[in-house]
Symmetry: C2
Subunit: 317 residues, 2 copies
């Protein structure tokens, strides 16, 4: 098993978009700065979507500009289309993720686009990236969402998923990711999906996974993904967020519990766990009354547990 794991914090995007309260811009900055100071090396800080759809993320450009001032941090954003990607490029994001829901019903509900339309957006985004000087090109990921099943369609045929993975790569994505939007995954399904998708895109073009804890299997699914050689895992501080467009699907995996598991297994994250646990306070103060999840924050660290000592210098993406 690989020993360095990239924990990609998605709370400021995936978490906040699910919460009605609009977090003040300064609170977002404090949260991002605190997590980066705890050693988190990649944070999805927002999404370039119309402010009327998601007012919670209306300040994404300002947040990207702020996050870019933090040394060593990979600043990731979600974009639904070329227009969002252009804003992301203008803001200087390091990583751009375009979601493509392998369930076409969910794609229409979530992005209001057919599969063909999303692939066209991917092609246009890739062209816009290629038009930039090499040193300014962000990493471009196509995220296969609802890949473990959809609350509207149920299981999606594997052939359809693999065809979409190939089309995303052909459109110009640097890699594809797997996203359990609905919390349907299980360890066996994770293993099988990683094997199948890598079969068409190659090992290097699938390194990351986005899992939910909807049915309590989040960390078991992470373990299965790690065993398959993936080394990038999305999670959300306090477990906030999920997918507001998939009814009954909620609950990102909790960054605090994930980092505890990884460090307990002697995997390296570059994160100072004790510092990370303190960031929870920043979040609680900025979102009063909002439930925060996670077990390790309540239970504390085991007696004699030696976390990674400090934020070590690890290669950033």
């Amino acid at each position: 098993m690989q020993t360095d794991i990239l924990v990609s914090e998605v709370g400021p995007r995936d978490g906040l978009q699910s919460i009605k309260t609009v977090m003040p811009t300064e609170a977002k900055k404090a949260w991002i700065a605190a997590e980066a100071a705890a050693g988190v090396r990649e944070i999805e800080v927002g999404s370039f979507v119309p402010a009327k759809l998601l007012p919670q993320l209306a300040d994404t450009a300002e947040i990207v500009a702020f996050a870019k001032t933090i040394p060593g941090l990979t600043v990731a954003v979600l974009v639904p289309n070329l227009k969002g990607a252009e804003a992301a490029l203008a803001a200087g994001a390091d990583k751009i993720t375009l979601p493509l829901s392998v369930s076409e019903s969910h794609s229409r509900a979530n992005l209001r686009r057919s599969h063909d339309q999303v692939i066209e957006e991917a092609q246009a985004i890739a062209a816009a990236i290629r038009a930039l000087p090499v040193e300014r090109r962000p990493h471009f990921e196509g995220s296969l969402s609802t890949v473990f099943g959809c609350t509207i369609e149920g299981a999606i045929p594997l052939r359809q998923i693999l065809a979409l993975a190939e089309r995303l790569m052909a459109a110009g994505c640097d890699e594809v990711g797997l996203s359990d939007t609905t919390g349907y995954a299980d360890p066996k399904a994770v293993r099988e999906m990683v094997t199948a998708v890598r079969g068409v895109v190659g090992d290097k073009a699938l390194t990351g996974i986005h899992l939910h804890n909807t049915r309590g299997l989040g960390l078991a699914n992470v373990l299965a993904a790690l065993e398959m050689g993936l080394d990038m895992v999305d999670s959300s501080l306090g477990g906030i967020g999920g997918c507001p467009f998939a009814p009954g699907a909620s609950g990102n995996i909790v960054t605090e519990d994930l980092v505890f598991m990884l460090q307990a297994m002697d995997l390296r994250t570059g994160i100072d766990l004790k510092k990370l646990l303190k960031v929870r306070k920043v979040l609680a103060e900025a979102l009063p009354g909002e439930p925060l999840y996670g077990f390790t924050p309540d239970a504390g660290l085991p007696l004699g547990f030696v976390p990674e000592q400090s934020t070590r210098k690890l290669e950033t993406a």
Copy 2:
């Protein structure tokens, strides 16, 4: 990986001993009957301890007698010593578990006995079992508790753990079990501990594990145990219980989530998951105001999910 997994429900013992409310005997019977009807094949129904210490379990003899009337159910009990074992033998329990805390400090706090004293009890219990006709002898397990670390002593030296495992087998146990009393386990530790203990007792004398979800890693740890070939997992309906003598350690893994994971992975449990989810109501009514845990009960089953169709006839222990 083995495909038949024995889910051993410990709620009526481990769960109820952690809850101050004394559940009425009739409610316990209704709970046990309902879980057995859902296909659960082994239930730890109580513990033979002095009623003044655990009044919640004072009716264990009556509960064992009732549970014995359910065809195909393995009726398990916990005993702290020979006196408890004698009561268990008189009641006709099918399986007797003697906990031995590998942390001697915890052993003194929990069982009020040194390691030598617990081993002596094990020898006396084994002798009492051997004195019975073969067909009436229960299965005798020595459970290595705090095996993944102790809230008083921290990590316990592996040499000490292995010596105690050997001594339990030499004393006459049929097998040893691993118990994460404190919720300190992680998947790597599970793999290493299974390997090490099997190295001294043999593969057939270690088949089961008792895990907690204290830090959210419960099902990830189950996955690691399954991958090592274990095929018996303890859990508690609604996740009630934990260890009242280990401060800060609480939260059994949730039977509902465990069974969902196993069935999603195409492993066989013999349990009708939809029926099992309904048993939760029996528990909620019998323990008003008591928090019940679990994700699958809230989220429901995935669209198109095909659970094991009905309670199939599986070999019982």
